[in-house]
Symmetry: C2
Subunit: 343 residues, 2 copies
């Protein structure tokens, strides 16, 4: 029992015109006289005519909507990105369809196929942790689908990208720890296949080197699901805590890893920062309420979403194919709490 919307036919019938004339009048075609236009416009207004976007999509092969694939919505970082995407899309008259891969390659493939078949005009993608084979995205890209990669990117696809300078973020965080007197700094990262993991760990590595601290492999742990699975984090933490040369600080490279570590430490009755200091990535607004208030690396998530959307809509609305792509690198912010300073 669906309601019947007013169509162009209703206007045509009401005015004794053809649908073509009405259509042209509404689009202000030069072929239509001023009086007829006036009549049609008034009638459309009166009947509260709204063009049917589905019919338009079918005809024009565009839908004025963009698809977004992220691993999870219920995550501050990504929900803030979506906020950013939505704000720009909304202004430009696009609507946003969000899909979650939940870190699964399989779901990412299905999601993208689904979005493509609903003829979204473009895609903003943050790769799932499981994704190593990129053919599903390459195929879309090759067929001309505008794509912007955000946060978790890949070199294999040549398109616009938006990231934060996580190398710098972690580099600064590591130096901050070193300046505060920590010497045995460990790191817990996400999947080794993720661009961001490696970049972040590189920042950690280089900061150690630059400060004449030795880099030790056993100080670097990986959690494949980036903290989505708590046991993973627990295990990584345990490995670090049972080392002969126990670390005095740890850096975590994602939101979930950060809170996972903190939980593990708390449950083990360890004190931050006296037993072990910590700096992690986070996009939560309530880190100051933690015990102790956390020092964290915050990414400009909303801005990333906005930038990605602007770049995407450039691609979508461009007349000629674009060959020159931009990699936009935003700066993270180190928010100083007291989890990184000996008490």
């Amino acid at each position: 029992m669906k309601f019947e919307a007013v169509t162009i036919k209703d206007i045509a019938k009401a005015l004794g015109l053809s649908t073509s004339t009405v259509s042209r009048a509404l689009r202000d075609s030069y072929e239509i006289s001023a009086e007829t236009k006036q009549l049609v416009l008034e009638c459309a207004e009166k009947l509260n005519y709204k063009p049917n976007p589905i019919a338009l999509s079918l005809k024009e092969k565009r839908s004025r909507s963009i698809g977004v694939v992220v691993c999870e919505i219920a995550n501050n970082f990504f929900s803030q990105i979506i906020n950013g995407i939505e704000s720009i899309a909304y202004d430009k008259g696009y609507n946003v369809i969000v899909a979650q891969s939940r870190e699964s390659y399989e779901r990412e493939v299905i999601d993208l196929q689904f979005l493509a078949s609903r003829s979204v005009d473009g895609l903003i993608i943050s790769l799932s942790t499981e994704t190593t084979d990129l053919t599903h995205i390459k195929t879309l890209h090759d067929r001309g689908m505008p794509i912007v990669l955000i946060d978790r990117i890949t070199d294999e696809i040549d398109t616009h990208k938006v990231i934060t300078d996580s190398y710098k973020g972690v580099y600064e965080a590591t130096e901050h720890l070193i300046k505060n007197g920590f010497k045995r700094i460990a790191a817990i990262g996400g999947s080794e296949f993720l661009s961001i993991t490696n970049e972040r760990l590189a920042g950690y590595h280089d900061a150690l080197k630059a400060n004449n601290l030795s880099f030790s492999k056993e100080y670097v742990q990986h959690c494949f699901y980036g903290g989505m699975v708590f046991s993973e984090v627990e295990e990584a933490m345990n490995k670090l805590l049972t080392l002969k040369r126990k670390p005095d600080a740890v850096i975590t490279t994602s939101d979930k890893l950060t809170t996972g570590c903190l939980k593990t430490l708390k449950r083990r009755g360890l004190h931050v920062p006296n037993d072990i200091a910590i700096i992690g990535f986070s996009n939560s607004d309530i880190m100051e309420l933690f015990d102790p208030p956390l020092t964290y690396i915050r990414q400009p998530a909303e801005e990333m979403g906005r930038d990605a959307t602007e770049l995407l809509l450039q691609l979508v609305e461009s007349k000629r194919p674009i060959k020159e792509f931009e990699k936009r690198v935003l700066s993270p912010k180190l928010v100083i709490g007291s989890s990184s300073r000996k008490q």
Copy 2:
């Protein structure tokens, strides 16, 4: 430069059949011979045919998609709800289009119009804080659009509803405080126009009465934007703290209010729970990391989302109009921390 998908026509051409035969063969119609079906199916497989959902939407006036309107995505409670919605919708082959009202009545109206015009098959709505006039929703509902209200509901619309028993949640929380020796318990709620605010405050009120504590109006503060605007919370808290008879505990009725209050207290250098105890609503997973670990009321958000979606799809897929509606009331959980017990 959009890619051309394989259509039913391509199959027809390849096989020298008519499009109607192909269509019927794909839908396994009795009118088509087994051999032809076989041929068509094989060919469709080979060409990687995918039906065009937009064409289907136009024809069938349904889109196998549902619209969701919430005030904000970047909020644990709502993103968990969306998670729940998505999981069911995904299983049943529906896709989910999310829109944010950002607590604005105007945006809610626009969002709903937009979703309706994209012919979503149904809507899951959580009212914005500003919404007092419900004609935009009533209009859709009267025209037969299946609607499920979630969390922030209204009596004015007769349809399925999914809520948590926040009365009970707050009642229990209040009693918990009373049992722990608190006597001057205040409350900070959201907008007075919101169903949930009043229900929650009723729970507070009744628990006081039942325990022979006096109810005082000055102990109840309202924040119109439910904590979205921090200054609002600060002001409410300040009012409470400057009362002659200063409260020794406070209950906050939403996620944002809870964290807002905690921030205010922390910034003022007040200690929880010694200076003032607190129990608040929250759907965050990291309350145990707070200083002190928070006692909070947690709503089964994912389950709410799942339930709402199941109810909605019942409406959507029902042959006859449904006249009997269900109000599903789920139970919140009181998670005990140490913000509610004197030290």
